[in-house]
Symmetry: C2
Subunit: 268 residues, 2 copies
């Protein structure tokens, strides 16, 4: 983990943001303070804070873990794309991942295509697995150009169609202020962490409890990757599993599978 | 250097491309063959080939070194931008580096702005310091979007102006076929290594002998960086230097400075 000065303010404000009460926040920060060592890594501080929250307020701990759980989706962005597609499906969209669409000039690979009635959304997913990396203006610029090229090809084919095309940029981190300004100006929709203020990425996840399995503390990285490979990304997708079939799928004892299903059932 | 299987074909075809005669190519490849060891790195092979060429055909060696000399311009792309600006100045353009231009939606940093009569070129410089990295469709897409945003702002201000705006993408490596196709379709000009077939990057450099100082074998990396920092990028810019002032600038003995000026005078 990246080394970073321990900052009591940061920890307590992150507790508050996750919804912890002031009392619990104060109590937790005090306990962490006592144990903290100089030069503790961000990861260590995070894990310490989280283990306190788990005991004190399990639901808040969950929210606190969500950002990290998404960053744990893997080195590549492919699982994140599938995750976004699954989230949108829960909101009534028909989705496809990694489609090649014809443009006027060239063909383009679009991460997620989401359709609902006459609305067609072409979604660029920008996944970052380190904190602090922002999606920048270049991403907004190329997403918009690509959208224009695809839309132009479509209009050429079918001029009287009333399909409403939209370009979206979905990211698990933040966007630079320039990217946000440009997107607003050209009509590119941004869905990011804490952006927009209300209907942002975590809103869509939390409203329908679409937590990724990487949020579960009872599974290892290896087990998580087996589940991802089996296209199980949402914790709620574990709901249809029986203890023995899950145990077999991820090669664990039934008692462990039972713990996993139990943790999943709490959050879905 | 990257390890790569020694490939006689590759070496001889690179000699031919650089303009070596078939006889010299055969002779040089034979000598290299004798000395070559398994798993020799690309860099070692390159340096061995080059030292042969230096003896046999100094002018061909120069051309052979050009691509590498540009890759040696530093980890960041800033010297490359200044190099491109200087090349264009030699072709009658007025150039500026790293300008912030107003767009309709946001302000944009443009690597090089080059003007000649009513022509205004906004140039994105894409510098890669490893071989095989290509500039891809995303670069072409964002360069085009940025251009449209700047052009729109300009047209809003001054509708009857007959300024001819152009967007250029200049890179020291190659572009993907998609990037080339898209650029051709939207009117984005590409200037790259070996692209277009005739008036490509090396053509503009070689026609006026605008070799970068990093092509000189008589200077060290440290001396090269001092020169870059003093805004001396073209070998011909050394032409105005006297032995003693160059010796002082880069902190070397006069005999060394003399060797450098001598090598520079051969190629300019």
């Amino acid at each position: 983990g990246k080394k970073e000065q321990y900052d009591e303010e940061k920890i307590s404000s992150s507790f508050i943001k996750a919804g912890a009460s002031p009392e619990i926040t104060t109590a937790a920060t005090k306990t962490i303070n006592k144990k903290v060592k100089d030069n503790m890594s961000t990861d260590e501080i995070y894990h310490r804070a989280l283990s306190h929250l788990r005991v004190l307020e399990p639901r808040v701990a969950l929210k606190y873990s969500l950002k990290r759980a998404i960053m744990d989706m893997g080195p590549e962005g492919f699982v994140f794309e599938k995750y976004i597609a699954k989230i949108l499906r829960e909101y009534g969209f028909i989705t496809e991942v990694g489609q090649i669409l014809n443009g006027h000039c060239v063909n383009h690979e679009v991460d997620v295509v989401a359709k609902k009635e006459s609305q067609v959304c072409m979604i660029e997913c920008k996944y970052h697995n380190s904190r602090g990396t922002k999606s920048d203006i270049k991403t907004a610029l190329y997403t918009h150009s690509r959208f224009l090229d695809i839309e132009k090809a479509y209009r050429e084919k079918d001029i009287n169609n009333n399909t409403r095309f939209e370009a979206w940029l979905v990211t698990n981190t933040k966007c630079t202020s320039d990217a946000i300004k440009y997107a607003g100006c050209v009509g590119l929709k941004i869905l990011a962490w804490h952006y927009p203020k209300v209907e942002n990425l975590e809103y869509f996840i939390e409203t329908k409890k679409l937590y990724p399995i990487s949020i579960l503390s009872t599974i290892t990285e290896k087990q998580r990757d087996i589940l991802f490979d089996s296209d199980i990304i949402l914790a709620k997708e574990l709901g249809s599993y029986k203890m023995d079939s899950l145990a077999e799928l991820i090669s664990v004892r039934q008692s462990r599978a039972s713990k996993i299903l139990n943790e999943a059932s709490i959050i879905i």
